[in-house]
Assembly symmetry: none
Homo-oligomer: 210 residues x 4
């Protein structure tokens, strides 16, 4: 009654052999295929992207694509991960505000650029637990660590109290910026980042709990 049902394990091969590492594991050729995928993805969106188009553009064949990524969704996920692998180092400017601005600016830029792809990947996440796990591994964990480092350093410098750090909502800064990009009207600007840091995140962190 309801169309094509792809086996749930379809996305198992989407991640490179060593998922825990930050190494990407793709061949040069594979990276090229992913780059083409990403470009077409950004310009046309998920469902207007055809695997044939990627193959043709990259002078490859569909079989080559499907040998590596067993479905279009896998391909797009891989391209997304490849394309958004951001600088892994947490900023360390000596000032909490500057660190947060740096993180926010980076997140805003990346999420603006890859908004269309993120929407596609989010949509695919509804179907695949593997995709959710990969997303978690590749993004959330990474950002979590980065923000933790920044906050810990600020606490050590005495800028904030460790009591102000709430793990329930550690990702307000990147989360809201991503939300703004996803909604596509009013994508986040530098001013957004500044206001978010100065008027929301810093007051929240620097407050003295009553």
């Amino acid at each position: 009654m309801v169309g094509r049902v792809v086996p749930d394990s379809a996305l198992s091969g989407a991640v490179p052999p060593d998922p825990g590492s930050d190494q990407c594991g793709w061949t040069e050729r594979e990276a090229e295929l992913l780059t083409v995928t990403l470009r077409l993805l950004q310009s046309h969106g998920y469902d207007r992207l055809t695997v044939d188009a990627v193959a043709t553009e990259a002078k490859a064949s569909k079989a080559t694509m499907y040998r590596r990524w067993p479905s279009k969704a896998d391909l797009v996920l891989a391209a997304f991960i490849e394309g958004t692998r951001e600088s892994a180092v947490a900023p360390n400017t000596g000032s909490l505000r500057e660190d947060l601005i740096a993180i926010g600016t980076s997140v805003a830029a990346h999420s603006r650029e890859h908004a269309s792809t993120m929407r596609a990947v989010l949509n695919e996440m509804s179907h695949s637990a593997d995709l959710r796990a990969a997303m978690q591994d590749k993004f959330v964990r990474h950002r979590h660590r980065m923000i933790e480092e920044v906050l810990t350093a600020a606490a050590e410098r005495g800028e904030i109290s460790t009591a102000a750090i709430n793990p329930e909502i550690w990702d307000v800064l990147p989360g809201y910026l991503v939300f703004r990009s996803l909604m596509s009207e009013r994508p986040p600007t530098d001013e957004t980042v500044r206001a978010l840091v100065d008027d929301v995140v810093l007051p929240a962190l620097q407050r003295t709990r009553p």
Copy 2:
């Protein structure tokens, strides 16, 4: 090179005849079709949903579907709007905190329930300016007004200073909660709402700018 190009005007008929009103304007039969659509949408996601399946399930014909909603995207948008039509009244408990908690709890519940559908609609928004506009009209504006009312009332009660209200980031509260639902790991809980209101939004609103 890149496939199917749907005319951009496809979404013109997506909204019921009287878009400004809060009345929905759908026939009982139409509402039934939208309900079926919504159910299949939630269980299968956007691209695994087929118009054929909806029609068959509802003992309708494809022509009937397309006569009302000129494309699959329109149908899904209409179903989404139908399914997420929330209470239009802003809370007025007399306490800013209570108002914010009420809004946050409502947003969290709705976004959790319709996460899959929202992902689908977000994805479609990449393609259609009309869809973006409809989304804006139906949700953002509505929430904007609601939050504005609450904040204005609080300012009138002297709970906050109007200077603390930053229109750049008025939607941190709902935005972050929606983000959490979209990411599907760690969907927002009541505790999330409480922490967000108490530790982030209220400190931000109540701060005295240095």
Copy 3:
């Protein structure tokens, strides 16, 4: 290890609803599709023929083709049957020799024209019992009856003895002519038919068994 295995029942839909009748049962549109198929088949041969090409040429779509004929082999079989539906009436010239010449000439012409298609269909017969049965029904039985009529009439006229009719080899005349067409070198000519009738078939029929 060995490629594509199509279910054996694949050819079940290849014959029109009423296989026993001589009516063809095809819609006008379907006949048109088969005509295009036959033309491309004759000019390119079986494995250089693509269903896509047929569809494009006939301004149809692949789905339309596959809705009627569940595989390329079915399509080709149907086209072959359609294309070689010959005049159903047995000749009756009053002379056995003339009757045999008429049959032989007709068989030679048809088999020459459709040699390529026949080779393809023969090849497909290796796989499908249904195809064999259809072939039997459409061709062999028909010719058998035709020749039987002619011989019976000749026996009634006293031209031959019924004892000379050997059911083991009733199809030497058409069989050898078809063989000549299939081998494609030395396709049968009118002289072939004449020699076959005068020097082989008639002597065989008119001999007095020792």
Copy 4:
């Protein structure tokens, strides 16, 4: 519009180095590959046979196959020739009838056994003049000479008149038997051969032209 066009010269290397000789010229390994090819060919037919399958079955590599036989058609032709290399000597029993029965029985047996392969090769003949030529060389000429020898001997013995030998239809005996095998329903039996020789070929040869 119509697909893959293989260069017509593809079959140039299909015959062993010394085409005139009756020696086969294949290495032991090559003969083994052809044997596997022949087996798969008989069980699956031409287009269900894959070069990959042959290579895997024979623990060879595709490169090895294509180094020897530049295309699938070449491979199949070679396997066919290898598999049907029959006794080259014409029978000489001293009796025309016995000679013809011997030839017919041999042809019937061979054509029954290799019917599937013959259908495949016939089908390929549509495309390749080289294959046609090879077929002609390997089979037709050989049989032609064999039958000529038998008939000449019979004429020398006075069993038949040389005037009765008609070169237009010298191959009625083998041709009809092959036809019967190709049609696969009613493959030729010993009785078929006997009837064909006694009731058709001998009367034709022994007739006195009016």
